[in-house]
Assembly symmetry: C2
Homo-oligomer: 349 residues x 2
DNA sequence: TGTTAGCACTCAATCGCATTGATTGCTAAC
DNA sequence: GTTAGCAATCAATGCGATTGAGTGCTAACA
């Protein structure tokens, strides 16, 4: 990438990618000339294309075919879109996204899934949403609720819902008073803490009036730890996985199968994005060889509430995808989601 | 089906299906003759095949090709397997299934999912498990747990876990005594009832000491109803969906896509089996035209605990699938699962 | 009457070959 | 530096010939 390309080369490259994105076919010099550069001849375009090919931006599938963009060409194309800045969605599309979420207030449960669905619906590509599942969830209260037969339930109220999985066994004499003291104590110890910290939290720090309650504190901590371990995997929502099969790039069963198997495995999905730099707003990756989703481009956006990264949303599509639109949708979704979340936080408090 | 086929016709038909299942190619008269009926000539087989074709058991894709079984042929084939009775699994396979579940005791949570996975792993076909989600779940206790700020949580303990989703707002003065009475009352009213009945349960039947508690009873009933509505859909677990793409029947993207879209939609899956007669142990359906999974055979088994149908497990594969093995696996799974469930019930009580 | 060998017939699949058409690279002129 | 013109290239398409697997039919046989 040493030198800057001439302005005309840039225009030709941009035109080529544009055409290739819409048609999926190798682009000929005359296509470019007639639709994008009527002021010069196709022969001129041809010589420019030769140069661009030598520079590694494009290639020919075979001698008598048009040109196809390579990764470097896409990168340049995406850059130019990003710097463009104009809104890339129609009003109708923006409205569609807004509307989908505005009446979803309160049901934060499936927000991520819904977001993935909307992204996929609007873009017509496969989309995903990776939710950092435990980030920022705070314990509000801990209660001990006695049941029959000397059993009790530990009720853990968090900022995002109630955990009340396990019934625990209480030994010996269970007085009302014991329950109350234990409840109060549990509240004191755990309330206000982040649930994700429970993994490395130690009871040694606390030693106020735990005579006789050590067991139960241990048990609750155990429950919390199990919960953290079981839920620490990121939640991955994939929507529209089958849409990829509509694009000719995946028109053979072998590739399709490979794509779907990566896409539907949460493990490999989390992995695929584990090393993403979430400080960057949008990241575009084109043709990550080793990933198993070869021949794909992946656009991701980091979603934050305050400074905390809540998750990543993104789109997986063919390299020749409609980058403008996708980035537009992710951006719109970002704004809409943060409005929704802020509102719902306000409502809750 | 008016007349019984001659013994030789049956043998030939069975041979044809056998061969077709393993090769996937049209079967010729000489194939059958050399591998299954060496005592006659291929010409004889040919005339028998002619007859079988006239009877609608088989057909030729084109004049100069071998024969391919039709639905009726498969049905007969499956019948003969069923009446066969011999165990159709290797010891190794049986052991594999057993082993997978024996150390899963207690984690009844994902049993259905795991079952589907094992079935798919052993058979190498797409498998599914449809779990009647609410069948037989009984409410054991209902408690009201006060939180801060005049809120409270309704804790519903069932035979299969705890429901504690919603915090409700209590109005006015909340005394300890009120909570206790309400808790007791809620227990009296709801304990012992089946959760699936809550949809049509009415409070009118009860009118003991509900002065002042009508509101809270209504609210709890509301929570239960919402729960029933949200969970009344059957849980559908599909495993190995992509395995179908390994078979040449689904070697074109269009069909593959169609298959996957049916398979991955819980709604259409439940629908597909809604009208199944669950009193039959195994049901085999070959080529259900209208279902969207054309060109498939579906084998299902009903899973019961006592008399209650807990779910249906099954396999979806190409019509020419290894019926012996699949039925064997479903049968083995059936036995293994009922052992596991009985044991885990014993442990619990 | 059922079975068999032999042979002609059929037809999908494959191969080879010529044709087409899109597109380029090159060259010579502007 | 740009352009028109032209030969060269090569995937794709179409078409006819060939192949071969497999059948159906017929006549002879047990």
């Amino acid at each position: 990438m040493a030198k800057e390309l001439s302005e005309r080369k840039k225009r030709i490259l941009h035109a080529l990618v544009d055409l290739y994105i819409t048609t999926g076919q190798p682009v000929s010099s005359s296509d470019i000339q007639s639709k994008y550069l009527p002021e010069v001849s196709s022969a001129t375009v041809r010589s420019e294309l030769s140069a661009l090919e030598a520079l590694g931006y494009i290639e020919q599938p075979h001698t008598s075919a048009g040109r196809v963009p390579l990764k470097e060409a896409y990168k340049l194309y995406v850059e130019s879109i990003n710097s463009d800045g104009a809104s890339m969605l129609t009003d109708r599309e923006t409205a569609f996204i807004r509307e989908k979420f505005m009446h979803k207030l309160g049901q934060v449960e499936n927000l991520s899934k819904e977001a993935a669905k909307v992204i996929s619906d609007v873009t017509n590509y496969t989309s995903f949403f990776i939710e950092k599942s435990l980030a920022g969830i705070k314990i509000e209260e801990v209660k001990l609720v006695p049941l029959k037969d000397n059993r009790a339930i530990v009720l853990i109220v968090t900022s995002k819902g109630v955990i009340a999985d396990n019934a625990i066994e209480l030994k010996g004499d269970v007085k009302q008073e014991y329950i109350e003291t234990a409840s109060r104590l549990l509240g004191n110890v755990f309330a206000g803490r982040l649930i994700e910290d429970m993994d490395k939290f130690s009871l040694d720090e606390i030693d106020v009036e735990i005579q006789g309650f050590k067991d139960i504190l241990d048990e609750v901590l155990g429950i919390l730890r199990i919960y953290v371990n079981e839920h620490s995997d990121d939640n991955v929502f994939v929507e529209g996985a089958l849409k990829m099969l509509d694009y000719p790039e995946y028109n053979n069963v072998e590739d399709a199968k490979n794509f779907l198997s990566v896409i539907s495995d949460k493990g490999s999905m989390s992995e695929l994005f584990a090393d993403d730099d979430t400080s960057i707003e949008f990241s575009v990756r084109i043709g990550k060889e080793d990933s198993g989703v070869d021949k794909c481009a992946i656009i991701t956006a980091a979603y934050k509430v305050g400074d905390e990264v809540m998750g990543q949303a993104g789109v997986i599509g063919p390299e020749r995808m409609d980058y403008k639109k996708v980035i537009g949708v992710l951006d719109c979704m970002k704004k809409t989601l943060s409005t929704v979340i802020e509102n719902s936080n306000d409502n809750e408090d």
